[in-house]
């Protein structure tokens, strides 16, 4: 009961701050940061929410699980029991608008199938909530734009859940490139593949997923080439292949693609839904190289450098890190480093990758 009271106290504090203008003074920002945790509602109670997002929320410094959105009320029960989510903060997709009256919820973490992100993000923003959204941001540039506009119109932040941008191993690789520790990079390799599992899941359905391996895990490799170079690619060329055309009738199973960046880096990437083991990121530079392998896991990522040094940092919860940063951006009134625009850029390039795979021609991105 003491716990519940504390939560109620925090909820009420949170409500008072959430109604304040988004850009607050530094004094109130500092106070806010000390005194409260932002309430997150998880929208979509699939495997990721259960195994990663909800447990991570309990490990954050600035967030707490304050609500749920699900089309299957039975799914909510386990969360209510385990995390003490009040029954009044459990919503269906159709009742999300009522969140406007739920001051305990500051942020909606959208973790529904890709092609539903715009709809759910738009509803959350309309209810006055900030939106943190799983990658890919959506399945088309137009829908990404719609989400971005909806959040902007509502004066709310939109963040894309690019957890690797919070992984110390990736941050170290970015530093190695920026400081040219091994000189200028020239070839970057990155790949991420998983065994997607059984045939009965939304990830294999085009109308819900928008695409297959590329949209789901290849996006990590694409993101990596962009944040490593700090540039936008100017042309992309791709090849697709399938070993199981029946299972992967609607979405891509395996892809390779190459991109050129303005500074001269060329990148080649791969992705697959067929098997794991494709999980590396490597930068070849003038005077050496460095790599992460595995690079894109929830944990256990580590790497090595051509000078014999290891790239290994203490484990952190990447989901907690990205949610804490998003909460701090809200509390401090500063932009996120993974805004909706960042999610849109990857979706735009992925559409070009699909176009190249379909036409056989290189697709300019300028």
């Amino acid at each position: 009961m003491a716990k519940l009271s504390r939560r109620r106290f925090l909820t009420e504090t949170s409500a008072a701050i959430a109604t304040a203008p988004f850009i607050s003074t530094s004094a109130t920002r500092a106070r806010a940061q000390e005194s409260r945790k932002l309430g997150f509602a998880i929208c979509g109670l699939g495997r990721l929410s259960e195994s990663q997002i909800a447990p991570a929320l309990a490990r954050t410094r600035h967030c707490r699980l304050a609500g749920l959105v699900t089309g299957t009320p039975a799914k909510a029960e386990a969360y209510m029991a385990k995390y003490g989510v009040p029954a009044g903060s459990v919503y269906s997709y159709d009742t999300m608008h009522r969140m406007a009256d739920d001051p305990g919820i500051d942020v909606v973490y959208v973790a529904t199938p890709n092609a539903l992100h715009a709809e759910h993000a738009t509803r959350a923003a309309a209810a006055g909530k900030h939106v943190f959204c799983e990658k890919p941001l959506e399945v088309s540039v137009e829908r990404c734009r719609q989400m971005i506009d909806a959040c902007k119109d509502a004066g709310r932040l939109l963040g894309t859940a690019y957890r690797c941008q919070y992984d110390p191993h990736h941050l170290e690789c970015i530093r190695l490139v920026r400081e040219q520790v091994f000189g200028a990079p020239f070839i970057i390799e990155a790949g991420f593949g998983i065994d997607v599992g059984g045939p009965d899941q939304w990830r294999l359905k085009r109308d819900l997923a928008g695409g297959g391996a590329l949209m789901d895990v290849g996006i990590y490799a694409l993101q990596a080439t962009r944040y490593l170079t700090g540039e936008e690619p100017v042309v992309v060329s791709a090849l697709e292949t399938k070993t199981d055309p029946a299972k992967f009738a609607e979405v891509d199973e395996s892809m390779v693609w190459t991109t050129r960046f303005p500074g001269g880096v060329v990148a080649h990437c791969s992705t697959s839904y067929k098997a794991g083991g494709i999980q590396n990121m490597r930068v070849n530079a003038e005077r050496g190289w460095f790599e992460l392998d595995p690079a894109f896991f929830y944990n256990g990522n580590h790497g090595r450098r051509s000078d014999g040094q290891e790239i290994r940092f203490p484990e952190i919860d990447l989901f907690a890190a990205e949610m804490d940063d998003f909460a701090q951006c809200i509390l401090e009134g500063r932009p996120s480093k993974v805004p909706g625009e960042e999610g849109l850029r990857d979706v735009r390039i992925m559409q070009a990758i699909y176009e190249s795979a379909r036409t056989g021609a290189a697709v300019p991105l300028a």
Copy 2:
């Protein structure tokens, strides 16, 4: 002196057999195989000849160093002293035709700059010698064809020095694909890069080398994708980049390319003259993966499989292995598995890679 006599004896035996028709009976074949070693003349006394080919000849079962061709007589002296090559079997490029009267020489190993291979191979064939030629076979398809025709017209074998086709590690990888130990492959990755060294060498001059990193070391990655799949690629797409345009003014410094194979495999490859560390070969298959890293070194290649098994065999001298096999092909009257046509195929694909890098468009190879 006993040693010299033995060599003279072998030379004379060799001469008797060399004048026999190329296709010999199995009885004479068996006799020949037991009684003699084929005499190899090394044509071009650069670093490779000094550090690899000549020492390897001493480790063969079926070959011996019997002659030299060089434009710099002083270079021959060390070989004469170290390997006992008789002064009468040292030729210049202009006197190669006199080899016709040197029965101790059966094979000319052409190790001159790429763009001189056709000229030297043609002279060797005209002198009645079999030709074993360094990769790339030549710098254009036309010149490859010229060499192939010259050897065919002279009734002599032409082999391409693809040492990795004799590396037990590569042979094991081929077996793993053929027997589908991990199911059907779908993405193959291969790359080979080296630091080419100082600016004053023929490898950086277009008229001698024909190309840069791709022609010299990228060819190993290209070869690998072909012998792993056992197929010919149907389309190629490539991107080139340079960190040092002054040093690499005439030839390619770094390249990535992707190819599609008829059976569905897509491959992505990389090469560079800028730095080492790009040296792997990996097959991603339906139920697992396997890789060699390093894959393309003179020695020390080894790898691992997704089931935890190592791919590691006792070291052999790859140059000795390929020369012994070529000698046995001659002695047994059977074709080489690395004939001139195999060298030509890679040159043709490399020209398409250059074309794609130049035009930005995918180049069909059908």
